[in-house]
């Protein structure tokens, strides 16, 4: 297929830094209906990679394949391989729980547990047998999520009392507390106001020093602002993947150009 050959060429042009996730010819079906078709791409380390595309193009499905969250949806079938640092995360001997410890996720809608702020952040490490100083880990995670200043004097209050933007940063802190390698963000700002969105975007810039970030967004301005690489998906196929700057200013594919200039989507 035409799309397939162009994306193969793009992988090599993109992979200047070490790749953390390698998606190799992945097809994902809900029942018999394909949601992702023959997608191949590589996610480089310590960069922000954006996945964009119109609603229903399969971008969330692809993202959720990276930490095996699709396992919870009945009748989902996958072909192809997804390698994390070279090993197949869908191999028979792999424990999906272990995959999710290393590849964290932030969801579209903030979903803090109905527990205290402290317990929310401490939850991940404590169920995974963390033996160090839990309070230090909580403080460090909240600082990295740029939330510490706002909540340090009320760590024992309910997380549900926080504003939407604070809750989303708490969810980021909760993911950071696991010290993951990769953070997957599924439209993390779509439920937030512009000010909170700007804070999360600033935060992503700081986080990419330590973490590899993959963000799914339907907001092209956001993709252009925060990411170094952009993948454009349409109808489950990868149309174009490259440096964000190139994808937005000199797209190689006609469909990409039409999408990023707002002619459809």
């Amino acid at each position: 297929m035409n799309t397939q050959t162009t994306s193969d060429a793009q992988i090599s042009s993109v992979a200047q830094s070490r790749s953390v996730l390698d998606v190799i010819d992945v097809t994902i079906r809900y029942g018999t209906k394909p949601a992702i078709q023959n997608v191949s791409l590589s996610i480089p380390q310590h960069r922000i990679t954006a996945i964009i595309g119109p609603s229903g193009c399969g971008k969330s499905t692809l993202l959720r394949a990276f930490n095996r969250m699709n396992d919870f949806i009945p009748n989902v079938g996958m072909e192809g391989r997804i390698l994390y640092l070279g090993s197949d995360i869908y191999a028979r001997e792999v424990d999906p729980v272990e995959v999710r410890r290393r590849i964290g996720m932030v969801f579209q809608k903030p979903n803090p547990f109905p527990k205290s702020i402290l317990q929310n952040v401490a939850w991940g490490p404590s169920i995974n047998g963390f033996t160090g100083n839990l309070e230090d880990r909580v403080e460090q995670s909240l600082r990295r999520a740029a939330l510490w200043e706002e909540v340090s004097d009320r760590l024992h209050e309910s997380a549900l009392a926080l504003s939407g933007g604070q809750q989303q940063r708490l969810c980021i802190a909760r993911a950071l507390a696991m010290e993951p390698d990769v953070i997957l963000m599924d439209e993390p700002c779509s439920a937030l106001d512009p000010v909170s969105t700007a804070r999360i975007e600033d935060l992503m810039f700081e986080l990419k020093e330590r973490y590899t970030i993959v963000i799914v967004t339907h907001n092209m301005q956001q993709a252009a602002r925060v990411s170094s690489l952009t993948a454009f998906l349409e109808n489950g196929s990868l149309v174009e993947y490259g440096e964000t700057d190139q994808v937005f200013t000199r797209p190689r594919n006609q469909r990409t150009e039409e999408y990023v200039t707002g002619r459809f989507g």
Binding site: V97, G104, P112, F113, I127, M178
Partner: protein, 304 residues
């Protein structure tokens, strides 16, 4: 005056019809309220007559209940103790098993298994209680007697077990509702932190559903308190303060049945005892139901 352009030909007629329908519907609603209020009024009136003969304090603190025998004594505690014994015994069965079934149904069962199990639970809840009573007497009691030979024919243990089985479907169903009311996003969030199914269930879903789960326990206990047929058949008619579940006891409900079926003359203090007992029973179950619904209302607020 000019006729309004909005006046239709049938407007007057249909308005009268609407009014009539509204009135009939109101009457139906009013009837059920009226019935409830009348029952409460009769309970209160008869109980009041009773308490003119017997001091409230003696009734509530007395430990001998012999209203039909000389020397008469009107201490209700033996009936309360009998009821409590049944409720505690039944809860020991219904709460752990009900919660475990609900956890299985809500968190572990596949959609197919769930489609079969949930209706089965509801059918179980529809079995007439007299069947449970008969089952206690003819099946459970001989079984207990085979293990403990000193077991009396009528005993609290047998009644507790069947009442526990009887309220089990309700407990499971209500707990299941509470667990399923926990948003899917919380489970996903927990899974994404590398939690196992068991950790997600025990450390996120169950705590989040706790108030709903507690409320269902209270409702189950309330149902066990009010349960009549099985305890009348299986637990006996011996008002007694005992902790031994192998002995015959009497619950508040069973006492009311006993007097209602007997030839106690209307208007006597013996007759009025059943209203005093019923008023107490009503007060207990009503307050438990109010507590449960308050807790549930607060639980729903958290997620909606």
């Amino acid at each position: 005056m000019a006729k309004s352009p909005l006046a239709g030909a049938g407007t007057r007629k249909s308005r009268t019809k609407e009014e009539l329908i509204r009135f009939v519907l109101f009457l139906c609603a009013f009837l059920s309220i009226l019935t409830t209020l009348s029952i409460i009024a009769i309970l209160a009136w008869e109980a009041y007559s009773f308490f003119r003969e017997v001091r409230v304090f003696d009734f509530l603190s007395g430990t001998r209940w012999t209203p039909l025998l000389e020397p008469r004594s009107f201490g209700v505690l033996p009936l309360v103790a009998g009821t409590l014994q049944i409720v505690i015994g039944a809860s020991l069965i219904a709460i752990p098993v009900g919660l475990a079934s609900a956890i299985y149904l809500a968190e572990f069962a596949s959609a197919g298994v769930r489609r079969v199990l949930k209706p089965v639970l509801e059918i179980l809840a529809g079995i007439p209680t007299v069947v449970y009573g008969y089952f206690a007497l003819t099946f459970v009691t001989p079984l207990i007697a085979a293990i403990f030979p000193q077991t009396q024919i009528f005993n609290a243990a047998s009644a507790s077990i069947v009442v526990g089985i009887m309220v089990l479907p309700m407990t499971a169903s209500l707990c299941d509702d509470a667990l399923r009311a926990v948003p899917e996003s919380l489970r996903q969030g927990a899974f994404a932190l590398g939690a196992t199914q068991f950790e997600v269930t025990l450390r996120v879903v169950l705590p989040a559903a706790l108030s709903g789960v507690m409320a269902s326990f209270v409702l189950a206990a309330s149902r066990a308190i009010g349960e009549t047929m099985a305890v009348t058949l299986a637990a006996g008619a011996t008002p007694k303060m005992t902790l031994n579940p192998l002995q015959s006891i009497q619950t508040m409900t069973a006492y009311i049945v006993q007097v209602s079926l007997g030839d106690t003359p209307v208007g006597t203090v013996e007759y009025q005892t059943i209203f005093a007992v019923a008023a107490l029973l009503f007060a207990i179950t009503l307050s438990m139901n109010i507590i449960a619904h308050r807790v549930l209302a607060r639980f729903r607020e958290v997620y909606e």
